[in-house]
Amino acid sequence: MVEITEGCALAGLPPMVRLVVQGRVAALDAAAASLGLEAPPPMLRVASGIGGSALRLGPFELLILPTWEARAGLDAALAPVPHSLVEVSDRNVGFLLEGARAADILAGLCPLDFALSSFPVGMVTRTLLDKADAMVWRTDAHSFHVEVWRSFGPYVEAQLREVAKGISFSLLTV
């Protein structure tokens, strides 16, 4: 973790397996079950089970961050139902933005409301970070898991640092 301003640190996330599962209810149910979940999470929410986390990015779409062991089980679980399973581990890069000012820094790049009441822990969405498409997942009150496509990584990291540079002046969380 690198402190990019007082009260906020930024780190690149290590490589991880990322799978996009798309399909109708049965496919999402099957994917959730194979992770040890009772049901897929509702829209824009994340559910984590013994086999990993499922991020509900769309009505027919889950981004799955499986454990190593759960990876193979997913293929088998999905086999009987129509679905699309595509690995995108290398498409995305991830950042961890952490600290009391993390939400304020995102608010310098993204027009969403990051108040805890509007964007609670466990919420995830695709959005924009300035001019880059991104995914933002609140993993804790002061902790965000941010993903962008690989080539947007340097741009987004530099933008986060630029916003952090000026964030501490006359800006209080509302």
């Binding site: 490589p15 996009v20 798309q22 399909g23 109708r24 027919f60 779409e61 129509p82 679905h83 699309s84 399973l85 595509v86 690995e87 995108v88 581990s89 290398d90 498409r91 995305n92 304020d104 608010a107 310098g108 790049l109 993204c110 027009p111 969403l112 409301d113 108040a115 509007s118 300035d130 001019k131 880059a132 496509w149 690989r150 080539s151 947007f152 340097p154 741009y155 987004v156 530099a158 933008q159 630029e162 916003v163 540079k165 000026g166 964030i167 002046f169 006359s170 800006l171 209080l172 509302v174």
Partner: protein
Amino acid sequence: MSGAFRLAGRGCIDTTRPVVFRFDGRMVRGYAGDTVASALLAEGRHLMGRSFKYHRPRGPVSAGSDEPNALIGVGEGGRYTPNLRATQVEIHDGMVAVSQNRAPSLRFDIGALNTLAAPLLPAGFYYKTFMWPRRFWDKVYEPLIRRAAGLGRAPTAPDPDHYALHYAHCDVLVVGGGPAGLAAALAAGQVGARVILCDENAEFGGSLLADTYSLIDGLACGEWVARIVAELERLPNVQLLTRCSAFHYGPHNMVALNQRLSDHLATPPADMPRERIWQVRACEVVLAAGALERALVFEGNDRPGIMLASAARAYLHRYGVACGRKAVVVTADDAAYRVALDLAEAGVKIAAIADLRPTPGGPLVEAARARGIEVLPATTIQRAHGHLRVTGAELAPVGADGTVGKGWRVSCDLVLMSGGFTPSLHLHSQARGALRFDDALGVYLPGESIERVRSAGSCRGVFALDDVLRDGVAAGLAAAGGEIGPAWTVMRQDAPGTGGFAGALPRRGPGHLALAFVDFQNDVTAKDVKLAVREGFRSIEHVKRYTTTGMATDQGKGSNVNALAIVSNVLGRRPEEIGLTTYRPPYTPVTFGAFAGHARGDQFDPLRLPPMDAWARAQGAVFEDVGPWRRARYFPRAGEDMAVAVARECRAVRAVAGIFDASTLGKIEVAGPDAAEFMNRFYVNAWTKLGVGKCRYGLVCRDSGFVYDDGVVGRIAADRFHVTTTTGGAAGVLNMMEDYLQTEWPDLDVWLTSITEQWAVIALQGPRARDILAPLVDGLDISAGAMPHMTLREGTIGGVPMRLFRVSFTGELGYEINVPSSQAQAVWDRVWEAGAAFGVTPYGTEAMHVLRAEKGYLIVGQETDGTMTPGDVGCSWAVSKVKPDFIGKRALALPALNAPDRLQMVGVLTEDPRLVLEEGMQLVPAADSPVPTSAEGHVTSSYFSPALDRSIAIAMVKGGRARMGTSLYAPSLDGSAVKVMLVDPVFYDPEGARLNG
């Protein structure tokens, strides 16, 4: 005390902290809390600027953001900012400020000669005078006019500061921190709503900061403000922003604020942004923007030393400055009497109060009389005397019939004017709020808006302090959904005046030469407005544009109502029949730096780098921008220019092998049981019979039948396709696929995933490509028999998962090695090392273009322009004849899209093989075709071909395929015409022997 006009013991400035700054090179002393205007006024200096058109000497009229005259430049080098209002610029040690629009000096300005020519420069003068000769406008008239007119110069040095942007959300945004705004914010905040309160000034309080008379809950106004601000600061749900102007009210309650963070600091912290734009999304907005005092329109009303009465009061109570020694007050409203009383109490002699009303009365008037101030009812000001400073006023009686009698001169160094108060409607108007004319007040007030917005206090015509506080609380509660709010007792206040005057003051004589200014900033006089009406302009919008009144950066804050009343009087129509011009954002000017925010330099746009970018840089590649991507264009060796390097790269690919980073190609995985059906409907090609492990060139049309994108598609499995698109078309194709899938074919069980950045693509092209690759692919048989052209295999390369496509965009035996992006460089290195013995050469996008042109392969967007059918570009073979439907099928059956004279793709050869045509050249039938003539076609691609050792080109020509073997001419810019021959566009290896090698 610094400054002869500074009064000890008054004002909110900090006299223990002297501040020294420079104005026009001269040292000026002031105190922390001063503005440039207050510090100069403390020295008795009113002259601060020159006007826009006539270069008239000007001083401050106001004490706030409505200031039209005292515009100055502040800062040095890259930090220089022109056209700032001296009435708002807070001073700090070492600050450098300059006056504007004057030469050689502020006191003696050569441009002031314009004022002598004023009778010759009426409204519309430029339009009428500089019409002929037409060509003089650009070169002569406009540059001259621009030099003579205008305000500060734009800075030219790069801006060294950084600027911030912040999106914020709240339940209630309160704009304006005067009594109404403070009351609204506190009421809403105490209910628990998320509140943002912003004020453009350095401190909250608004009109209360200059009010030493009223008492609230037994507290002086300043003390009450401090108490309320302290209460607000204790509420964690309230965000307070000073030096922060709400300048734009956008749709859906998206309000933009401009916060100035560092300009008032002598030594700001290193990383402090200079300004920050707040984009606030508010559930409810309370506008507490206040009201602005109106100037009076009389001859010479722009002389330095003539100002609004409320401004003199603000300078007295906020800055401890007396704006003069002897004042004449001209008013149509009671408020100016309080100002006169305050000034008199501070030692300023009040020569007279000229009241336009026939019988002024009430407690304030009586108080003035009791103090011995001469009150002159039914009296106007005929004109002001003086040049660089007002020296006297000519007062004159107004008869019952409105005629003005003979006047007399009163000497003075200060004229205070009060035409009543105009509610500030700018933001309400920007919020698409209706305006309604109030007959009693003689001004417009806010009506209904389509936004969730409400006005409170004097900006909606509520003027008495106790009413204002109640109005603020009510607005705050209504916005926050609360019922019980704070209440205060106003124990002493002035009753609000009901007077006011709008339009030009009555005068004696026609005043043909009188300059009575309506809009100070744009130098628009009453005469100009009347002239516009005489010349036939009836709509206030037209009068505005003809005279430019209200069009300056102050957006008519002080002038609109006066201009309206003049038009109303001349036309004999009521003001509401005339209307009011639209208020445009920004409320006050905003710097370009603030708008740019962090989108500057390298961060202006995302720069996307392909996986082998660092390698290419190490090799000394020259790059080009391809959409958001930066791609290697060519790899020059020592002494090579582009032509030489590209020729060498092309020869290497044809002779041995070249290696190319093709990762930017768009890639989409289409998967699901209905994948083939989806592909059949989406592409013009047929996919059902494409076997697993096979590839096909695919074309996408819009429903118009015009080519939209192309790319090779591989079938990974019965239910899975690996689709490639052009680099620039990646996002568009995916969007179009999703669009059709979601809206037209939701029944299909097929899903799309972008895999552009999952897979990096290493293109290995050339006759030795297989020899280089074969040992690397972990036992995969890639021999010509096992893996012919247009096939794909999944495997590994050095243990790295791989999708290997045998495809070619060069016409050579070639492969596109798809590997996960994170491991692409490692694989590339391995291929590079293996190829070294053969002489593998890296090539860039330029060689790629030449190689494909030699083969007559089209590039979507280069040969096509959005109006080309597959047939036009020689791809009718790709269009399925048997599919029941696909996007564009109906359009492609239209006769017009099959007409024989459509533009068709052909090859073009010049007679001189060394001559390379310009891309974009038109092709005409004869060398001496008359001008203008219709072109028969145009050149879309043109290169020197190393393989053919001559120039080649591709063109789109009407009925081109039937015209092969005939000639056309390409006129060049120098007037000559180049004869060209139309040929088959496949210049190299037309049989495809090399491709299938």
